[in-house]
Structure formats: structure tokens, C-alpha cells
């Protein structure tokens, strides 16, 4: 601290003039009870009178024994100890709130996950109970090639179970599962259609191994998905009319692993004609990132399979259903599906096979083979009838593969497109035609 010039203390020691202040005034000054003008006068005297300063200094009470009259306007309202404790209390409140919010978020997520998983388990156990050992296949109906091998791909319960949970599960796993229970047909075959096809062409359809539980990728917003998966009417059967015989929906990568494992219990009940193969086409390629994103959105927004359990009497069943749906979502289930009806007509479903709408392709055209990669569709029929639509059936173009001077004219038994460019057409007589440019050019394999 800077020191005053040496002359200052000397001149400060001027003798006190005027009256000494009354002792009561000194006490009032110490207690800050004097008005400003009077206070200044007393201080002026004190600045010149060492004796009065000495008395005042002695008369001051100790800090802890200060009179309440010292709490006047001159006492600063800003108290560091109070502020210090207030700051500490504020920090505790803020940290505690953050911890509580974080914990609630974590608990909410874990509860949702637990519900989903338990729903899956109970749904799996339920499927085992209700899956009928075998239904006599419809004539020429091929066994479901999509029997699943894992618990997550159990055959759907029979249609007699009208619970909303089953409907949602069926929708998640694939319409073929529902069919089996509802109509007694195999899960993967429609009424009569497959049989007809199978009958006419032993190799008209190739069976694919069972797909995992979900037939294909989801399409639509999480809200739409949940709305569709939620039970609309308990016990509503899948439509029998035009029940697709090849409405297997496979994951994009599961072309080579058609859901033979899709329904293990049901597999035994399905007739397998050996050479008859039921070709199942994926209704749409799954977009894994999109599906995961939608799943995340569903979880985040709380739109989990909880909606499925609305009519569930038991929490366990609800959890099982939720778990199934969870797996369905996570396995790139798609809501949009394509199939060929028993009478050879192309059909489209946007609700995972609950309902189907006919898609006009060509008048009087009868198709038996189908390949779908998202909106890119290929349908094939007898005598080399081959159509392509790049926009999910909005417009169709007839394709006549030509290779080496020969034209594809045999009955098309199967169409396989791994993507919109790479494809293979197999005829009933064993011809294999391939293309690598989306059908612009073809090559007939020897």
C-alpha cells in the first residue's frame, strides 16, 4: 500500500477544536445511527481528536458481539460468506438435477429394452405353444420355404388367435406365417396358387431357406410402422382371397437363405415336394441404416412395441410381442411387399402383408416369378413374358432378352436381382439368362 507523504501525519495532528462529542453520539456513531450530516461532524472531530478516537476504539464491541444497531444502511448487503454458501448450494442443486435427469433417461431406455426383450421371449414361447404341428397343405401348395430356425422366427400362431398381439407379430414376421394358421395352409403358400404353380412346373419355384423372422426392410416412418403393427382388429385373418403364395419377404441379403428356418415347428408340417421349390422374392431390399435409424427413432420417441400390447392381459405377453417386433425391426423388416397371387397377378402390400392391392402390369398377363429391389420390380411369366418397373409399379416396360441371336421364350420360373443392375432369369427348361446392366443387355449362359 502506498504511503502518504511524510508531511501528512504531521499536519493531521492538529488540535481538536470545538466541543467533544457526547458519549451518546460516539455510541450512535459506532452503531451507525447518526444522520449523514451529524456523522460527518463527529468524524471531523474524531479526525482531529486522538482521545475521542481512543475512546471510540475501546468502546467498539467485539465482532461477534456487535449490536444489532450496527445493521444499518451502511452495512454492505453483499456478504461473501452468504454468497459462498449460496454458490455451493446452487452447484449442488445443478449437479443433482443433471444426475437425476440422466438417471431417468437411462432407466427409461433400459426399461424399454427390457420390455422389448421380455416380449420377444414370451412371444417365442407362445409361438411354440400355439404353432400347429402341421397343417395339411393346400393342393399343390408348397411348403413354406421360410421356416425359421431360430426362436425369433417361429411360425406364427393360427389365425384362431385373434389377439392384437398376434396380428402385429404376424405382420412383423410375414404374412405367410399368418396364413398357415388361418387357413390351414402352409405358412408360405397361398390357397391353391402355389400348388398350381408347383404342379405345372416342378421347378417353377425354388425354395429358399427360411429367412430370419422379418421378411424385409421397413418402409415408412416409425409412427406409421407402429400404427400398422398395432392391432387393428383382434383376430382378423389375413385375406384369403388372393392370398399370396409367394409372399415371402426376405431380407436383402437373404436371397440365398430363404427363410427355411422361418418356422421350425411349421417346417415339419409343410410338404416339400422335393424338386418343387418356392421361390421367394424379397419384397424389398432392406435399408439397414434406415431401419436402424427408424428403430432408434422409435425407441427414442417411446413408440416401441408397447402399442402391440394394448390388449394384452399379461405383461409378459406384451413384453414378448414387443421383443418380437423389436427383432423384426432390427432385421430390416419392410412394410412394403410384393407378391404374385394365385392367379398370376402382381400384388402389393404396404402393411406387411395384411392387405394386398393388385398392381396392373399388362392386360391378361399371368406371372409366376417376381423380383423386387425397392421400387425396382421384375415380373416374369409364361413364354418369356418379362416386365420391368423402376418405380414400384408406376410404369412397366416389357423386356425381351436377346442373346446371341436367341430370344428368351421359355416359361420364366425365377427372377433374381441382387441389385437394380445385376440379375438372373431362370426358365422352366433350365435356361439361365443374366444381365449386368439392369436388363439393357442379356447373356444366355450355356
Amino acid at each position: 500500500m502506498d504511503q502518504v507523504p511524510n508531511s501528512v501525519p504531521a499536519r493531521l495532528q492538529a488540535k481538536a477544536t470545538g466541543n467533544h462529542p457526547d458519549l451518546d453520539l460516539l455510541a450512535a456513531l459506532a452503531e451507525q445511527a447518526l444522520p449523514e450530516r451529524e456523522r460527518a461532524q463527529v468524524l471531523l472531530h474524531l479526525s482531529r481528536c486522538a482521545d475521542c478516537r481512543e475512546v471510540l476504539a475501546l468502546a467498539l464491541p467485539p465482532v461477534e458481539a456487535s449490536s444489532t444497531s450496527l445493521d444499518t444502511a451502511r452495512r454492505p448487503g453483499f456478504r461473501w460468506p452468504v454468497l459462498r454458501w449460496a454458490a455451493a448450494a446452487a452447484c449442488v442443486v445443478i449437479v443433482g438435477s443433471a444426475v437425476l435427469m440422466k438417471r431417468e433417461s437411462i432407466m427409461s431406455r433400459s426399461m424399454q429394452t427390457a420390455r422389448i426383450e421380455s416380449d420377444a421371449k414370451s412371444a417365442a414361447s407362445r409361438d411354440e405353444r400355439v404353432a400347429e404341428p402341421g397343417q395339411p397343405p393346400v393342393e399343390s401348395v408348397h411348403p413354406p420355404a421360410l421356416a425359421t430356425s431360430g426362436p425369433e422366427t417361429k411360425v406364427s400362431p393360427p389365425a384362431q388367435e385373434k389377439s392384437a398381439r398376434q396380428s402385429a407379430l404376424q405382420g412383423a414376421l410375414g404374412p405367410h406365417y399368418a396364413q398357415r394358421g388361418a387357413t390351414g395352409m402352409t405358412a408360405t403358400s397361398g390357397p391353391g396358387a402355389a400348388g398350381g404353380m408347383g404342379a405345372t412346373g416342378g421347378g417353377a419355384f425354388r425354395r429358399y431357406p427360411a429367412a430370419p423372422a422379418v421378411p424385409g426392410p421397413l418402409q415408412g416412418t416409425p409412427d406409421e410402422l407402429m400404427a400398422k403393427m398395432a392391432p387393428k382388429a383382434a383376430g382378423k385373418d389375413f385375406p384369403t382371397e388372393g392370398r399370396p403364395m409367394s409372399e415371402v419377404t426376405l431380407p436383402r441379403a437373404a436371397d440365398e437363405q430363404v427363410a427355411a428356418e422361418a418356422a421350425a415347428p411349421a417346417a415339419g408340417s409343410l410338404q416339400d415336394n422335393g424338386a418343387d421349390q418356392l421361390k421367394r422374392e424379397a419384397p424389398g431390399k432392406a435399408k439397414a441404416p434406415a431401419a436402424r435409424m427408424m428403430l432408434d427413432r422409435m425407441e427414442a420417441s417411446g413408440n416401441t412395441v408397447q402399442a402391440l400390447g394394448q390388449n394384452q392381459p399379461s405383461a409378459e405377453a406384451s413384453r414378448a410381442k414387443k421383443s418380437d417386433l423389436f427383432r423384426a425391426v432390427s432385421s430390416n423388416l419392410t412394410v412394403s411387399r410384393w407378391t404374385i397371387s394365385s392367379d398370376g397377378k402382381l400384388q402389393h402390400s404396404i402393411d406387411s402383408g395384411k392387405t394386398w392391392q393388385p398392381v396392373p402390369v399388362a392386360e391378361n398377363a399371368v406371372f409366376r416369378a417376381l423380383s423386387a429391389n425397392g421400387p425396382d420390380l421384375w415380373v416374369g411369366g409364361a413364354a418369356g413374358l418379362l416386365y420391368h418397373s423402376p418405380d414400384a409399379g408406376g410404369r412397366w416396360t416389357q423386356i425381351k432378352p436377346v442373346s446371341g441371336g436367341s430370344t428368351l421364350a421359355a416359361d420364366i420360373a425365377a427372377i433374381e436381382f441382387t441389385d437394380i443392375r445385376q440379375g438372373k432369369v431362370t426358365t422352366a427348361n433350365g435356361e439361365i439368362w443374366t444381365t449386368s446392366d439392369g436388363g439393357q443387355s442379356w447373356r444366355k449362359q450355356p
Binding site: 507523504p5 457526547d22 450530516r37 486522538a50 476504539a57 464491541p61
Partner: protein, 307 residues
């Protein structure tokens, strides 16, 4: 000194109105003080602090007084037993505490408190009239604060009286008879420096002067000064720093205005006047306490004194 309040001139109407207004709240009736007596008490106080009362409306001035304590003190001075019961219950132990805080010693503190208690009770008579110090309490501050200042004053008086009283034997032992003659007085400050310094000090507010005096003359700590003014210690530190800078600047300006060069002014400021300062302090000490805390009054308003 009177043991009871003297019948004084008729109180002004304003004071009577205030007395009537506060009579029921101050507990005067409990101690046998009538409304008229209360008005007279208030009139005495107003008269004593006439300058302060003039600057403030009378009603406001009276309402700012510690009326319940004023009534208690005057009732005690009048010999009201009920008032003394209340006073003793509240302040007897307080007196001992204050005494120990002032003297820093228990025995001295109790002795100091007992002597004051006797003065308060009016065991001292003057001219056949019981003198009671409580008559000098005016209610500007609390009774406790007033008791502190009274005891502090008494302690200082006792100390100075005892200091002046020296034993001849002790003086001989200390070798006072062999004391050296007084040295030559130190040269006074340059009158220009004195004038410039006085000018700078006069321009300061009273509070700043008090802080300078308490710190540089009395050697009080920053904390003690801060407690006196009810501010934070850091405030006093900053104030002193600021004052030092401003005083230096103003004195330099004053010196240069009086014909000194800048260098001369700076040299004059740095002149060592410590010895001079000490001498002045000694001279000032010898001037008191007889005049400051007398049994005689020093310029006190007529009719009242500090006891």
C-alpha cells in the same frame, strides 16, 4: 446533577404530539412516567442536539431515538424500582462483559463495571443531590453502546491518572535525575509544504481524514477502522491507497503553485519528519485527558455533561 428530571420549560407542541404518539409504545407508563414527563424528556434531548434537530424535522428526530431505552434510563435515574429491576436484569452481566473486553482482564473489568454501576445507580452525590449518569443518556444510540463508551472513557481516564502518578522511588530507580537535557527542537516543516498539506487535508471528506488519522496516527489496524465505519476491511485498504496517491499529487501541485520546482517539491515530500511527528504526538498527549474527559465539562451544552 439531579436524580430526577427537572421540570423544564413547557415542551413545544410538536414534541408533545410526538410524546402522545409514542407514549403507548415506549413503555413509559410501566415505569411511572407520564406523557407530560415524556414530552419534557424529549424536549431536553431536542434542545441538547439543537443543531441536529434543526436539520431534521422534530418528529423524525424524536422517532429516531431509542425511546424505550431512553424511558428506561430516565426511569432508573428517577429511582423507579421497577425500572432498576429491568435494567439490572438486562445490563448487569453486560457491564461485566464490557469491562472485561475493555480492560482485557477479568478483575480489572469487574472493578470497572462495579465502579460504573455505582455511578449509574447514583451513589455519588454532588451538592446533596444524587448524581446519576443515566441522566446523560439521550437515546441517540443504544444503552449498551452508551455503556461501552462510558466505560471506555472511564478506563482511559483511570489509565492516564495512573500514568501521571509516578513514584519518586521509581523515578530514582529509572535514573530520572540523570536525564539528559532536551534535545534541540527539530526544524519545522517548510511553510509551503505545511500550507500545501493543510490545503490537501482540508479538502478531504471527514471520513477520509478520520481514516488517515486512525491509521497513521493511532496505528489502528485496517480491521478496527473498518469496524468503526461498518465497511469491509478491503474498503479501508483501497481508500488508504487512493488517498496516498491523491494527497501526493495535490501536495505536489500545491508546492509547484507556490514557486517550487517539480524536483524541489518531490524532495520536500520525501523529507523525513518522523521525529517531528513523534514530538507532536507527545505534546498532544500531555494536553489531555484533563480537558477531554473531565469531571469538568469541556464546552458541553448547559445543564448536561458527560459526567
Amino acid at each position: 446533577m439531579q436524580s430526577t428530571t427537572q421540570p423544564a420549560a413547557e415542551p413545544p407542541a410538536e414534541v408533545k404530539a410526538v410524546a402522545a404518539e409514542v407514549y403507548g409504545q415506549c413503555g413509559a407508563s410501566e415505569f411511572g412516567i407520564s406523557c407530560d414527563e415524556l414530552a419534557r424528556i424529549l424536549a431536553q434531548v431536542v434542545d441538547k442536539y439543537s443543531e441536529a434537530a434543526k436539520a431534521t424535522p422534530t418528529r423524525e428526530f424524536c422517532l429516531a431515538l431509542k425511546l424505550p431505552e431512553l424511558v428506561l434510563a430516565r426511569a432508573c435515574a428517577a429511582g423507579n424500582e421497577r425500572a432498576w429491576e429491568v435494567f439490572m436484569a438486562r445490563y448487569r452481566e453486560k457491564l461485566y462483559e464490557i469491562g472485561m473486553q475493555i480492560t482485557r482482564e477479568e478483575s480489572s473489568g469487574r472493578e470497572l463495571a462495579d465502579s460504573l454501576y455505582a455511578d449509574l445507580y447514583g451513589m455519588v452525590t454532588r451538592d446533596g443531590v444524587r448524581a446519576c449518569k443515566l441522566n446523560f443518556y439521550t437515546g441517540r444510540g443504544s444503552i449498551e453502546g452508551w455503556l461501552r463508551t462510558v466505560m471506555a472513557q472511564e478506563h482511559v481516564n483511570r489509565y492516564r491518572r495512573g500514568k501521571r502518578t509516578v513514584s519518586l522511588d521509581e523515578e530514582a530507580e529509572e535514573g530520572a535525575q540523570f536525564a539528559a537535557p532536551d534535545p534541540d527542537p527539530l526544524p519545522a516543516l517548510d511553510p509551503r509544504l505545511e500550507t500545501a498539506t493543510d490545503e490537501a487535508l482540508e479538502a478531504l471528506p471527514a471520513e477520509d481524514r478520520f481514516v488517515l488519522a486512525a491509521y497513521y496516527l493511532d496505528g489502528q489496524t485496517l480491521a478496527a477502522i473498518a469496524r468503526t465505519l461498518s465497511v469491509h476491511e478491503s474498503t479501508i485498504s483501497r481508500k488508504l491507497d487512493k488517498l496516498a496517491k491523491s494527497l501526493r499529487k495535490q501536495i505536489l501541485t500545491g508546492l509547484t503553485r507556490r514557486g517550487m520546482s517539480r524536483r524541489q517539491a518531490a524532495e520536500a515530500l520525501e523529507a523525513d519528519v518522523r521525529d517531528f511527528t513523534v514530538n507532536l504526538r507527545d505534546r498532544l498527549t500531555q494536553d489531555s485527558p484533563g480537558k477531554t474527559f473531565p469531571h469538568k465539562k469541556v464546552g458541553a451544552p448547559a445543564g448536561d455533561g458527560n459526567g
